[in-house]
């Protein structure tokens, strides 16, 4: 017989996150059937429309995914009646699949030829992503989300999002606290205005003219600290269903690629760099719920010492390796490069979310303003590093500001859509960004959704770009790949406009 598990006061678990391999530029998927099987609740309990969480869903996640109405199959105790093993009768495994079809307004250039890639004005990702997820309670107070994903663009299978939590609360629920070990800063968050679960969440677009794959446009570095790149541990408190505090620290977890488990030049190259030592992450949010309404405003901050993969590292590695070879001693790359060639990022973000979760109508307004200050290593600015051929950055300090605002509406969780606007601006740094150095971009996402079932979602999306790389001339920033291709005399932002037809199903 069963009802719901009760978390009592207890010791804090030590959670060790092990293993990570390939970085995937992955969209986190949600609407997880294992949670429904575990709790007996319908998707609508936790989601307005997946993956956006309702007030209940936020509490479920903060409670460590442990709420269950299933009886435990194994429930061992010791002589002190202390629980020694708790296993559910049903492992919470699910398949999450995303299929995407993209149609570009104009065919991208062929990298090797001065004319468009013939017949390639569209791409069909079947699947775009295919994930195997374990999600749910691991013990009475520990829950986990463990995701393994095949990503067509990345071209392989690798560890995707991981979140392992310990959570407990007082009997009056005034205080909920927990510890989370995860591999993606913001994946642990429960609001949807900023971070890994930002709405809109389905986007398969590759912005070809900016030369940036996957993400499409320049954004805060925090978005790049995904699975396979970092691992962190944090503690959080949620007071009175309203006030949320979190402190976390992330360490580089670049490993596995290049045949070595340490951060060496090869691994740095894979992810564009690595976190040096620990990067602290802090989060404060305030939520207020009334009637059908829920509103949140929050701030988050992250400070990152970043070892960039550019120039210096490979040169240093080569020199060190050569020196070691000359001296006849084995060369072992250091775990952390203490070279002084470090860029320091300070990210500050304000996010907000208003949610109306009514009897039939659901609508919301959410978004963020993220400001990033990037202090470039003096050696990379002045090109004084060993093996330097040219400086990497123009400015000692660069800044980037991103504004994102989204409005969404759904009727009966069946029909709906959203409009999202993103604008990013920043300091001009020609060496870092190419062209005249502006990282500016601006685009909108228009989306229509049809959900015949809550775990089966059809998505029609149009991505409209007004500004890419500040619409400068020459427009194409990826000079090396498309050097002012004569086949593209009039490249403009709208060439990137893309129709996306997607299917997202979880079962």
């Amino acid at each position: 017989m069963s009802a719901v598990r009760f978390s009592r006061l207890g010791a804090v678990a030590t959670l060790i996150l092990g293993g990570s391999a390939l970085m995937l530029v992955a969209q986190p998927a949600s609407a997880i059937p294992p949670f429904a099987r575990q709790t007996g609740l319908a998707c609508e309990a936790c989601h307005t429309v997946p993956p956006e969480l309702t007030a209940f869903g936020r509490r479920f996640k903060l409670s460590g995914y442990t709420l269950t109405t299933r009886p435990p199959l194994v429930n061992d105790i010791d002589d002190h009646k202390r629980n020694t093993m708790w296993l559910t009768d049903l492992p919470g495994v699910a398949i999450l699949a995303q299929i995407g079809y993209d149609h570009y307004n104009r065919a991208p250039p062929d990298a090797g030829q001065p004319y468009p890639a013939q017949g390639q004005s569209d791409s069909f990702q079947f699947p775009d992503q295919f994930s195997l997820v374990y999600a749910g309670a691991v013990s009475d107070r520990v829950g986990a989300w463990l995701q393994l994903t095949y990503n067509q663009v990345a071209g392989g299978v690798g560890i995707d999002n991981i979140d392992i939590r310990y959570s407990d609360h007082t009997s009056d629920n005034k205080w909920v606290w927990g510890v989370t070990a995860n591999n993606f800063p913001t994946f642990q968050d429960v609001w949807n205005g900023f971070g890994s679960y930002t709405i809109p969440n389905f986007n398969t677009v590759t912005l070809w003219s900016g030369g940036v794959a996957g993400a499409g446009t320049t954004g805060p570095i925090i978005n790049a600290l995904g699975p396979g790149n970092v691992a962190g541990i944090g503690a959080y408190v949620f007071y009175d269903d309203s006030l949320y505090f979190e402190l976390s620290a992330y360490h580089s977890a670049v490993s596995g690629t290049g045949g070595t488990p340490v951060v060496d030049s090869t691994n740095l190259g894979v992810n564009g760099g690595a976190v040096d030592r620990f990067a602290p992450y802090a989060r404060i949010a305030y939520e207020r719920d009334w009637g059908y309404h829920s509103a949140e405003i929050g701030v988050s901050a992250m400070y990152i010492n970043w070892i960039p993969s550019v120039g210096y590292i490979s040169a240093q590695q080569q020199l060190a390796a050569t020196a070691a070879a000359t001296a006849g001693t084995p060369y072992t790359p250091a775990q952390t490069f203490n070279s002084g060639v470090i860029n320091r990022y300070t990210d500050l973000s304000v996010d907000w979310q208003y949610q109306y979760n009514g009897q039939h109508n659901i609508y919301g307004f959410l978004g963020h303003v993220a400001h990033e200050r990037q202090q470039n290593s003096p050696q990379l600015v002045a090109a004084t590093f060993t093996g330097a051929s040219s400086p990497i950055y123009t400015n000692p300090t660069d800044t980037l500001t991103q504004f994102l605002a989204t409005a969404e509406y759904f009727r009966d969780r069946r029909y709906g859509g959203l409009i999202s606007f993103t604008r990013t601006t920043g300091t001009y740094d020609p060496l870092a960004n190419g062209g005249n150095g502006s990282p500016a971009n601006q685009y909108e996402v228009y989306e229509l959704d049809y959900l015949p079932w809550l775990n089966f979602r059809f998505i029609l999306q149009y991505n409209a770009y007004q500004v890419v790389a500040n619409n400068q001339s020459p427009f194409n920033l990826n000079h090396a790949t498309f050097p002012n291709s004569p086949g593209f005399p009039n490249i403009k932002a709208s060439n990137n406009n893309t129709w996306v037809f997607g299917l997202w199903m979880d079962f």
């Binding site: 719901v4 009760f6 709790t39 309990a45 429930n75 629980n83 629920n173 059908y292």
Partner: protein, 214 residues
């Protein structure tokens, strides 16, 4: 041979009884992760409160206020949910799952817990004329159309009677939704379906308005 058989049967019977006793014994151990042993307060804290509030005062009108609700009503509904005897959309989405493993004792405990919480006042009416019209309907019904007065089952002050729910202090929108669901047959209840089918839209609006003043 016959003696041997009877001996074997006796041994087997003793063994079965022993196993049975052991099972009963192990099922009554109080171990926190075994949900069937949770008391009402723990259940409310871990589950019910997420929608209905720790004190039974829900924030969203999607979920009814349970503070001071009659224990007989809560008990009856929870038992209905458990056997999937109520099939309105929200019962399916939330309560079928939540109630599926509750024991009778737990149901009783939860009902007692919420019924002993302090009641809340209704939100009030912004349209006194409408509320007055609703009051007439609430107290007298419409005998000419075979519509019973609400007071018969829900009491003069909306305090409820036995297994008929307390309406006083309930979310206005929740009452509206339930009335419409009774009328459309989404929520099964013969009496309420009979009553709401005969009421006009205006009469439903008036009664709901009056109930919100209780």
């Amino acid at each position: 041979m016959k003696k041997l058989t009877s001996y074997s049967l006796t041994v087997a019977a003793i063994a079965l009884v022993t196993i049975g006793v052991r099972d009963v014994h192990s099922a009554t151990l109080v171990v926190p992760p075994d949900p069937s042993t949770l008391n009402a307060k723990a259940l409310v804290s871990a589950a019910c409160s997420k929608c209905h509030g720790v004190n039974g005062v829900s924030i969203s009108p999607l979920f009814p206020i349970l503070a001071a609700q009659l224990p007989g009503y809560i008990e009856a509904e929870l038992k209905l949910f458990r056997i999937r005897g109520r099939s309105d959309p929200r019962a399916r989405a939330f309560m079928w799952g939540i109630s599926r493993g509750l024991t009778d004792e737990q149901i009783k405990g939860v009902a007692q817990y919420f019924s002993s919480q302090p009641p809340v006042k209704g939100s009030g009416s912004s349209n006194p004329a409408l509320a007055d019209k609703g009051k007439l309907m609430y107290e007298n019904g419409a005998p000419e159309r075979d519509i019973e007065a609400c007071t018969v089952c829900h009491g003069h002050s909306g305090e409820g009677v036995n297994t008929q729910p307390r309406l006083a202090g309930q979310h206005r929108d929740y009452v509206v939704t339930e009335m419409w669901q009774y009328r459309s047959g989404l929520r099964e209840n013969k009496v309420m379906q009979h009553v709401t089918e005969k009421m006009t839209d205006d009469e439903i609006a008036a009664v709901v308005d009056y109930v919100s003043t209780l």
